[in-house]
Symmetry: C2
Subunit: 475 residues, 2 copies
């Protein structure tokens, strides 16, 4: 247990797998491609859920639940959709001891089944917008899996909405994208690049896919959440129609948007270091770990009495006391640093005497005494500071490793020698996109928002480009 | 929409299906046996979840997540378990376009997969007790389905714990049963009979199953939650062992316990009446519905200004304002009565002038004016009163329809003519149990707790009985 983690700089992938398991975030299961999310990982997911769910409800969305199984014929109704998902489907062929007449697909995403239900529920413009969200498990068959990042089954939320006009659907798509950006940056302390996907990378069946992309500790990108304007594609496939104010039958405009347990992988890979995890305080399952220190029984009693006082003062925080006898304080310091608890409180007999504790920050390693009198205030302010500092560090790392280039040789050299994000002019042709991927393994993560003026010459073919794209290796 | 519900007394089953759909609690889906839980039904489930989850965490349990798929060979490891669940399994035979080497079962319950993981995680007595809960979907193939009550897929929580001794496992089993009882009675206002199941009705693989049984509006019983002492059956099947303080390898003692979306069916069937649903205030998705009344635009403005004030005063409650223009106040009264909102606030121009509102209770139909000055206080006290009154009414109904009998002819006559719960001596033989079921369709719901002294002669065979059992027709 006291074995050292593989340093992150030495083998990022090995570090990741080790830290996920050692911190008891998740474990492999005997079912190929499926993981077990352990309590410490699931507590992080619960905090993510709460934080997002509040935002969804504040913007008028309601949760609902749709069937796990989808008739195969439903998946086929939207042509692009089936093309995108067919290779990844898990199929139930037998139920209750009988072979089924029509095989059932375990949902890889729920546009098809929800589209079908929307068609039953929506009658007139009065029923619009219909704003639904679902928290559930989905299954996409995977050959090579990695805990949290790529698993056959994962947990997520999928929002599904229907609107009267294109404009309203587009507004919704961007509203939810902004919620994801706000959540990633302000709760998870993960800076992101916001933009839209290229045609080849968009969701199977969407008109347009928007994304937030984050830079991991190895300088690869990770798609942290997506929001899709589905146009009328699913409305037409599933006959989602409404009577407008003039009593004319119209197709709806729909959207969908999702964030999954993959996001936990992003938190680990953005913030972690050679010591292990670093949890952003706002989402941390444990915000404060208290390690009492004693030698004699008499000291123990005095220290633990003080610990009760600390618990009383800090009842607003997610706090845990590690008073196990079988481990030394030093071992506990390492353990909770590895598990990424933002703030540690050490308290020994001399601290009790001085009516103080010692605070240790996980982000900077800094240690400082704190008088009991102002403990709650100081903990609050330190946690806020750690949250801001973690974002700042991650932002600096992303900025320092982002290159604005217009020369393809340089592009290849940088990707080869340094890695990172490259922003470069792109002519929007799928050929150039594919050629660059073939050469460098870098894909277009998005076409970032906020571009103005001419982009320059396409980094690959030299033709005039209207936009710059963000290129990177990605998980 | 304004069509009348089938009266509950006329056709209970039809009333149930109508009210579930009309109140938009749930809907049928195109997937056989699977339902869609609509936002109003899901909001009730979220309140149930919150209320239980808090109790689970207060008693030291942590949430986690285990795979949806279970290798078929795992289900077979515990002999009774596979016998019980085999006929109901949904089986995935294809994944990612390939036939699987070993078919995967969609979890009907997770003892097998969790048992396997517990065996990896538990090493010594220090790791015990291990107290885990999971919120998830499960699948049990059903031929005849009914919304919420019996569906192929349903949502639930399943607790799974491992302990060092039989006594600790038994204590845990009873602790969780008591949590279910407390939840049912104090949150859902559903009185229950607490006891243990007969051998033939216990969970497949359990040593002993405890249950809470409630009486529905048609006098049938519904098993509202169960808690199982699994003994060492699963520990032996999955090799869940620990080193005790003397360094000896011992098998663990495990438990499991669950409550599902079926409980929503109980809430509907216990409290509902000819007007529709009646939601217990503590769990109601909407506790207070505000119906503003106006004729002219000028009145509208005055009334809606007051409604804002009401919202401000009642921000602690789950409140909704129905200010739709296309429906009359009378239509809205019926609609929200049908959907079971415990308290209605009516406010018209004259109320604005008198600085008051009119309150209408869903449980008694009573209407009363309430001055704005004390509104929040009065709403709080009325909701508390409704909660207590709903429990009292349900308890009286159950008590009035429970018969203590010792004559089998009387037993049959009462079940035939009146229905209800019958408490009668039983010799504990499976033969008598089966014969009574064959005769009357009544099953043993449980052997109630708190029995003292001799029970009398078995109601069926006349042999001396140690216990009395609760017999009833059941969902």
């Amino acid at each position: 247990m006291a074995e050292k983690l593989t340093p992150r700089s030495e083998d990022f992938s090995k570090w990741y797998t080790e830290v996920v398991q050692r911190a008891e975030m998740a474990d492999y299961s005997p079912v190929r491609g499926c993981m077990v999310i352990r309590p410490y990982g699931y507590a992080l997911w619960e905090n993510i859920q709460q934080s997002l769910d509040r935002r969804f409800k504040e913007t008028g969305h309601q949760n609902a639940y749709f069937p796990l199984f989808i008739p195969y014929s439903f998946i086929q109704k939207e042509a692009e959709h089936v093309k995108g998902f067919a290779p990844q489907l898990a199929v139930v062929t037998h139920g209750g001891g009988q072979e089924l007449e029509e095989p059932l697909v375990v949902r890889p995403t729920s546009e098809a089944i929800i589209g079908h239900m929307f068609a039953q529920w929506i009658r007139s413009y009065r029923d619009l917008p219909l704003l639904i969200n679902q928290w559930c498990n989905v299954v996409r068959w995977e050959m090579r899996t990695r805990l949290f990042l790529r698993t056959t089954e994962f947990l997520w939320q999928e929002g599904h909405t229907a609107h009267a006009t294109y404009e309203e659907a587009e507004e919704e798509t961007l509203r939810m994208l902004e919620i994801y950006r706000d959540f990633a940056e302000n709760e998870a302390a993960i800076p992101v690049i916001v933009g839209h996907k290229s045609e080849s990378e968009k969701f199977a069946g969407a008109l347009r896919t928007y994304t937030i992309e984050a830079m991991m500790g190895n300088k690869w990108a990770l798609q942290a959440a997506t929001s899709h304007n589905l146009g009328q594609n699913f409305a037409k496939a599933f006959e989602i129609r409404y009577l407008d104010r003039n009593n004319q039958l119209q197709y709806c405009w729909t959207t969908s948007w999702g964030l999954s347990t993959r996001f936990i992988g992003a938190i680990i890979m953005v913030h972690g270091d050679d010591q292990g995890l670093k949890m952003p305080p706002r989402l941390a399952p444990i915000q404060v770990i208290v390690v009492p220190i004693w030698k004699s029984d008499e000291e123990k009693e005095r220290v633990l009495t003080k610990v009760e006082e600390i618990k009383g003062q800090l009842s607003d925080f997610r706090l845990k006391v590690d008073d196990r006898e079988e481990y030394t304080p030093g071992w506990k310091f390492n353990e909770w640093e590895m598990r990424g608890v933002p703030l540690r409180i050490e308290i020994g007999p001399r601290d009790v005497e001085a009516d103080q504790v010692v605070l240790a920050r996980r982000d900077t390693g800094e240690k400082m005494p704190a008088p009991m009198a102002r403990l709650s205030e100081q903990v609050r302010s330190l946690l806020d500071d750690i949250q801001v500092n973690m974002f700042r560090m991650a932002k600096k790392f992303m900025d320092d490793n982002t290159y604005h280039l217009d020369d393809y040789e340089e592009f290849k050299r940088i990707l080869e020698e340094k890695g990172g994000f490259i922003i470069a002019p792109w002519c929007e042709s799928a050929e150039c996109e594919a050629a660059i991927k073939e050469d460098t393994k870098a894909t277009i993560r998005c076409i970032p928002f906020g571009q103005e003026g001419p982009a320059g010459a396409c980094i690959y073919c030299g033709k005039e480009a209207r936009v710059k794209a963000l290129f990177a290796r990605a998980f």
